[in-house]
């Protein structure tokens, strides 16, 4: 018995350290952090309005620019989803809408939301704003390239939206753009629409590569003194890993888009098999449509994690700050992010079980897909264990976090259904799939974005958002989103196919009519509820409560800048020096319930901080 006690003490001493005041303060090396390896960054300071706010090289301004433009495209995507739901729920009220319109709206909604909204918002918006602040850099390492990156994104969005106004309209081939139908007559937007889509995607990839190089090198090479990789907040880990995925996955999309453009413009047959149309053989022949699907999903599956990993990272930080506890199993969380990222390159063809690929692939991809569920589940347990016996603040941010966990678990579990070939085959192309991916990569990351907006708004603007409006916003969104997507699982089980413009009069579909009306009504309400946030932002900017420095009593560096909101160059005269990880909350023996990353060990003697 006594030996057991000894053992556990020894283990405790390994995992955390208590610095006694006597020995600690007398030792001169206690606060030693080795000197900077490279000189201070040489920054370009804009002076005119244009160089300060338009063609700005400050990552924070670029982040806000990304955020605003992505939100704008997101609202367009939202409006498109309203139109789709209007058609599905109340077809008699949507008389102006033809089947072609419907397919175009489906396509543009999907592409906008996945690529131009979520990816741009998480990596471009939060990445630009938070990475330099959180790792203690003055700015991104290549500010000029960063500025070009945003303006490339701007042009890409412009080209994308221009496709609404060309003859034939935008492409209507679904966000997956599968050939041959994407470029054949009969599909809406098979002329200019698909070309503009491909051009826009190529521009986006080019622009994103510039931004992504910035994020990666800033994290790898421009951290401040004392900031090791294993002391970085999980937000940075999530965005960093997602950027790695993007750098390696977007090439496949680029290649696919380019080849499809050549098929369309030059008449090559990369993806086009021999096709009979109205009794006539088209000039195409010998191509492989499945090749496009492989290329697309080699991009498309990592893309799912490009959206999800930043969300995982951000949510970890929000939960930790607002339940005043360190994140449970920080190292495990980091490794889970990295492993999920790495595995995401080996699972892509689980989107293609019904495509007619080599039938043996089902074994391989079902296995890898189920393996990826392990680190993901670990993360969920860790979030819950972080909350467990924490000093939880039930504010809007925490509500969004809890909403995220619930929706993510829901979407994740249906993902395990769909990862199995035999379950996927009957369920694919039904509303079950729609419910699954909207839960897991639509609503869940959106919850994180909302939580992050409420959390970091005081940092960006120095004002709090209104809690009252925030709670309305949360409950309407959360309950509404559940009302939309939960019934969709049932629709999928009874076999309602996705992508159908109209449900017609077949008996098993008429039973879905009432439910479709209900879902549509909920969708209108949820969509409208998002404007509460916009109203809240505008109102709070004008008359919001001043936040002051570090209003959430957080540990990470972004709250520790000399001025709030941070200025260009972030840190004033001296870069911060980091002594610990970002999660020293409620440390036994400490004076306050948080110890910032810059607090030197000599100031927290006698408290039991984690050894990081």
């Amino acid at each position: 018995m006594s030996e057991d006690f000894k053992d556990s003490k020894a283990i405790q001493a390994q995992s955390s350290e208590t610095i006694s005041s006597g020995a600690g303060s007398s030792s001169p090396d206690l606060d030693y952090v080795r000197p900077a390896e490279v000189g201070d960054q040489d920054l370009y300071h804009g002076h005119s309005f244009i160089t300060k706010w338009v063609f700005c090289q400050d990552a924070k301004v670029i982040g806000v620019q990304y955020f605003c433009l992505a939100t704008f495209t997101g609202i367009i995507g939202l409006i498109l989803s309203w139109l789709m739901r209007l058609q599905l729920g109340y077809p008699e009220a949507a008389g102006f809408m033809t089947a072609e319109h419907y397919y175009q709206f489906v396509t543009m909604h999907g592409m906008i939301m996945v690529v131009y909204f979520l990816t741009a918002l998480f990596l471009g918006g939060f990445g630009n704003y938070l990475i330099p602040l959180m790792v203690g850099a003055r700015d991104m390492v290549f500010p000029y390239l960063n500025m070009v990156s945003f303006w490339m994104f701007f042009v890409a969005v412009g080209v994308l939206l221009a496709s609404f106004f060309v003859p034939g309209g935008p492409t209507g081939s679904g966000w997956t753009l599968y050939p041959p139908q994407a470029i054949l007559e009969g599909t809406p937007g098979s002329g200019m629409g698909i070309i503009l889509m491909c051009v826009s995607l190529i521009l986006f990839v080019a622009g994103f590569t510039m931004g992504g190089l910035n994020y990666l090198i800033t994290v790898l090479q421009a951290r401040t003194r004392g900031m090791t990789l294993m002391r970085m907040p999980l937000t940075v880990w999530g965005i960093f890993t997602a950027t790695v995925l993007a750098m390696l996955a977007f090439p496949a999309l680029l290649v696919g888009s380019l080849m499809m453009m050549l098929d369309k413009l030059l008449g090559t047959s990369f993806f086009m098999p021999t096709i009979l149309k109205a009794g006539e053989v088209l000039e195409y022949g010998g191509g492989s449509p499945i090749l496009f699907q492989h290329l697309f999903w080699f991009f498309g599956h990592p893309e799912v994690y490009i959206v999800a990993l930043p969300a995982f990272g951000i949510i970890s930080d929000l939960i930790s700050v607002h339940s005043r506890k360190n994140i449970f199993g920080y190292r495990m969380m980091v490794w889970a992010i990295v492993i999920i990222g790495a595995l995401s390159f080996f699972v892509w063809a689980h989107h293609m079980y019904v495509s007619g690929m080599n039938p043996w692939f089902g074994f391989f991809f079902a296995t890898t897909t189920l393996i990826i569920a392990v680190p993901t589940a670990m993360k969920v347990y860790n979030w819950i264990l972080t909350l467990w016996r924490g000093n939880i603040r039930m504010n809007t941010v925490m509500l969004w976090c809890l909403g995220f966990i619930v929706t993510f678990v829901n979407g994740g579990i249906t993902g395990i259904f769909l990862g199995n070939v035999s379950v996927d085959v009957p369920l694919s192309d039904t509303y079950f799939v729609i419910a699954h991916f909207h839960m897991v990569m639509g609503i869940a990351p959106l919850m994180v974005i909302m939580g992050a907006v409420y959390h970091w708004f005081p940092l960006v603007t120095g004002k709090f958002l209104s809690e009252k409006l925030g709670k309305w916003h949360f409950w309407l969104t959360f309950l509404g989103a559940y009302s939309i997507y939960f019934p969709m699982h049932y629709l999928g089980f009874i076999g309602v196919p996705r992508r159908y413009f109209e449900m017609y009069d077949s008996p098993y579909m008429t039973s879905a009519v009432g439910m479709n009306e209900f879902i549509s009504t909920a969708a209108f309400i949820v969509g409208a509820a998002q404007f509460i946030l916009i109203y809240n932002i505008i109102k709070s900017l004008k008359i919001g409560k001043a936040a002051g420095k570090n209003p959430w009593q957080a540990n990470s560096l972004e709250w520790l800048t000399p001025t709030v909101p941070p200025e260009h160059g972030n840190w004033g005269d001296r870069l911060p020096v980091v002594h610990r990880w970002a999660y020293d909350y409620s440390v036994p023996g400490a004076k306050e319930d948080f110890i910032t990353q810059t607090t030197p060990p000599s100031e927290v003697t006698d408290s039991k901080v984690e050894k990081t």
Partner: protein, 111 residues
């Protein structure tokens, strides 16, 4: 970005190593050209092509791009992602065989 000024300037390598590698690349290219010249066929041809290709690629990366002298942290970051490509190649080989099989089966045999 005057970050490099702080650290000591890196030492350069002797010119001989570059000339050696340069020469080796020419020789290897000549060999791979000879593979075609002598019209080797079958497994011999493919293995020779691949051997010369990887030797050339390795020499360029190791010495011209200085990867041989870089620290393992950089080398590993660059080489591990290639496993994803290797997996992609491996699976696409299985895929093209299957596509070819279905095409021959339905268009020429069973069709």
């Amino acid at each position: 970005m005057d970050e490099t000024n702080k650290k000591e300037q890196t030492t350069t390598h002797k010119i001989g190593i570059y000339l050696w590698i340069w020469g080796l690349l020419f020789v290897l290219s000549f060999f791979s050209y000879m593979v075609d010249w002598y019209q080797f066929q079958g497994l011999l041809r493919w293995s020779l092509i691949l051997i010369f290709m990887f030797l050339k690629a390795g020499l360029i990366m190791a010495f011209f791009m200085h990867l041989f002298w870089e620290r393992y942290a950089l080398v590993n970051v660059l080489l591990w992602p290639m496993t994803a490509i290797a997996c992609f190649i491996f699976l696409m080989v299985a895929e093209f065989k299957y596509t070819l099989f279905t095409r021959l089966f339905y268009f020429f045999v069973g069709g």
